[in-house]
Subunit: 106 residues, 2 copies
């Protein structure tokens, strides 16, 4: 998993909207997705390319159409690497903060 590509892909409202659109109806074509976006088709393509590079979306060509499918694996990897780690320390971090505010270096 390339955390940089995944986070950067997620760091844009258009691309998050694309993921939501695919979550509502998986396997949509480029044209279908564009109908919901209010930008040129070519711009949407660039966003989808980034989602694909981050492996968040997989595509299949069917005739002259290109179908788009969500791949949830990178999101799960993000969870394992960047959420669980900090969740685990949640209480102890709050404890540290409280201690600092009370003068942690005594």
């Amino acid at each position: 998993m390339d955390a940089d590509k995944v986070f950067k892909a997620l760091g844009d409202p258009t691309r998050r909207r694309l993921l939501d659109l695919l979550c509502e109806k998986n396997g949509q074509t480029l044209g279908q997705l564009c109908e919901n976006l209010d930008m040129a088709r070519q711009s949407a393509t660039q966003h989808l390319d980034l989602l694909e590079a981050a492996n968040l979306v997989n595509t299949v060509k069917r005739g002259r159409e290109k179908l788009h499918f969500i791949n949830p694996v990178p999101l799960h990897d993000i969870y394992e690497r960047w959420v669980r780690k900090f969740e685990r320390q949640r209480l102890s971090l709050l404890h540290d903060l409280k201690q600092e505010l009370e003068g942690g270096d005594q």
Copy 2:
């Protein structure tokens, strides 16, 4: 939670490194964090400002020092909004894909 700020904050290796550094030892000063970064202090400040704007880091001033603490709440929100949703549909998505590959429009 501002998903845009959070994902953009996470979409940079320097800022993810800062979070890891704070995970190892919470409550570090700007100077301490800079020692591990290989860039000008002012650049690190800008990264920390973005982490703070995303509410991923909270700060406390103690004398002339500024202490930095991780706030795991936005990460948890990300999980709720962007991971669980897709995790839940994982199997059904794979099912959709398989069906498409076999000729979904029959």
